[in-house]
Amino acid sequence: MIQAEKKKRVIDIKNLDMKLKIENDFYNVINEVSLYVEEGEMVALVGESGCGKSMTAKAAIGLQPENSVLTGRIETDNENLLEYSEKEWEKRRGKETAMIFQEPMTALNPLIHIGKQIAENARTHGADKNEAKQRALEMMKMVGLPDVERLYRNFPCQLSGGMRQRAMIAMALINNPELLIADEPTTALDVTIQAQIMELLKEMNEKTGTAVLLISHDLGVVRNMCSRLYVMYAGHIVESGSIDEVFENPMHPYTRGLILSVPDVTKREQELVSIPGTVPSLAERKQEGCPFYDRCERRLEVCQKKACEMQDVNGHMIACHLYTGTQKEV
């Protein structure tokens, strides 16, 4: 704990709110989210689809939708990134903060050589043509792409999904960023490839020291990778802590549900059958009470009226009335 506090936070999100404006109505997408990643660390952000994980990630790199309104703070290097201009963001993106996406098949421009797209990230941030190319080739080797000289001149359509995701990782890491946001990087890939890519992310994290914020709906995947974990539900962080702590002692009913439903590694995208119902859509979300109330097996009376504040239980953060010790179950 003491050591950790010395470490720099490459991103520190504080009380972030995101509202989406759709046809003159505002909808809460993210509520009071606080989250940080320290340098060199791998942190997971998990939750079902539609929980606001991707939106949080996008906000962290300044790519939130144009119809969104953000309040709160996203800090790094003592600056509030929410006050960044588009120009400042352009300087930061790809350099300090990089991102890779879920769908490697479409995330690359189909008409531009792979190598050039990787090098473009270096070029954009000041490298000259040759240097960019050299660095791109190095990165390509580093992420385990074969025959890089030839591959440099290949088009995305000539690469398999796994290779494309490797290329994406090479592209994201070419400027040796502090933070890599990996938004479900393996969801679209075959199971065997998934493991390879995860292995690669871990390896790159160790080799380059780039911190990773790994966004996933798959608790099984993150368990072996990350040191800390945030659990998100319907725009709220409901629980966070070290991986071991949370897995051994899940407190929030939602987290429990998630862990109980950890799929068999061989059955990808298995439905989380043990939690009844689905994440409410933006329009269905209630303004008051615990966001998980409707689906909670252990809900209390108070949960309907009032959401629980985040509380620290021995470094294990939890937002649930069950642990305030004063309420009865319904």
Partner: protein, 313 residues
């Protein structure tokens, strides 16, 4: 290779069907080419002589079969009305129409491309509204009205451009261009408006693609994203309409060619139909089928040049 063989076969079948179809239509349609050519005052002897020289004394089916046989030997027959080889007439008119197509396409691209891109870039700014409206309006103006409007401005009021006629390229590029500029404009103003809409939508569609997100996450500026990533991708669908436009103009713009007294394919077509010039009509049908097939082929070729996904498949 099999691909090309299939295409050529398809071409032949198309031409066969279309020519049989035209043949059938002109069987049903009343009208005798000799009378049309000579008019109401034709002497019976003149009519007979003309019919004989046209080979019209033979039955229609026999004439059709003769025509098919000739076609296989590369002979498209002789026009009833002009008494010249059909191939030569089409060739002459093609030079005119091809010039028109060439200049029109250049103008269309010169106007449509920059405006379309500009509009896509600035679609949120207030200046975009009048531009977008203007392009909508010119899209909805019929080519005929556009021609009259242009003639009024440039010929009647300013008197700087001729309102009719065609000068061949070998008489000098300037003269050639002078005659071409207005009819080409009349075509280009409408088609560039279509192009603008197309580019605009295409760019907007591309902007929603995942690779744009990737480029943004690299910190690539909006301008560079547009120039280096979006444009080439947006152009792929645009090639399709340019291809359609080319085959459209080459197939003869009857109205434009009439208004500007342009001796092109469109003019030839309207004359051939109104004079029931059967060999010429059939020749034009073959020509047009050929143009459409060729344009499609060229568009496909261009696709594969631009898009590696097609080339490398």
């Amino acid at each position: 290779m099999r691909y090309y063989a299939r295409r050529i076969l398809g071409f032949i079948v198309t031409i066969f069907l279309v020519s049989v179809f035209t043949f059938a239509i002109f069987q049903i349609l009343p009208g005798d080419p000799a009378t049309v050519i000579l008019g109401v005052d034709a002497d019976p002897a003149q009519l007979e002589a003309l019919r004989a020289s046209m080979g019209m004394d033979k039955p229609m089916v026999e004439r059709y079969l003769d025509w098919v046989a000739g076609l296989f030997q590369g002979d498209m027959g002789t026009s009833y009305k002009y008494q010249q080889p059909v191939a030569q007439l089409i060739q002459e008119s093609f030079k005119v129409t091809a010039s028109l197509a060439f200049v029109s396409i250049i103008l269309t691209v010169l106007i449509g491309l920059p405006v379309g891109i500009w509009l896509a870039k600035n679609s949120r700014k207030p200046v975009a509204t009048p531009v977008s409206m203007l392009s909508q309006i010119s899209l909805s103006i019929p080519a005929f009205c556009m021609s009259i409007f242009l003639i009024y401005i440039f010929c009647v009021k300013l008197q700087i451009l001729p309102s009719f006629g065609y000068t061949p390229l070998n008489k000098g590029v300037g003269k050639w261009l002078k005659n071409l500029i207005l009819p080409s404009m009349a075509i280009a103003l409408g088609s560039s408006a279509a192009l603008i809409r197309y580019i605009y939508t295409s760019i907007n569609a591309q902007m929603k693609e995942d690779y744009i997100k990737t480029a943004k996450s690299k910190g690539v500026s909006m301008t560079n994203i547009l120039n280096k990533h979006v444009l080439r991708n947006s152009l792929i669908p645009v090639i399709t309409i340019l291809g359609m436009l080319v085959s459209d103009i080459l197939g003869g713009s009857i109205i434009i060619e009439n208004v500007f007294s342009f001796p092109g394919i469109g003019k030839l077509l309207s004359v051939s139909i109104s004079s029931r010039d059967f060999p010429l009509i059939q020749g034009l049908v073959v020509y047009m089928a050929g143009i459409v097939v060729l344009c499609n082929f060229l568009v496909d070729m261009l696709y594969s040049v631009i898009d590696p996904r097609i080339r490398l498949k």
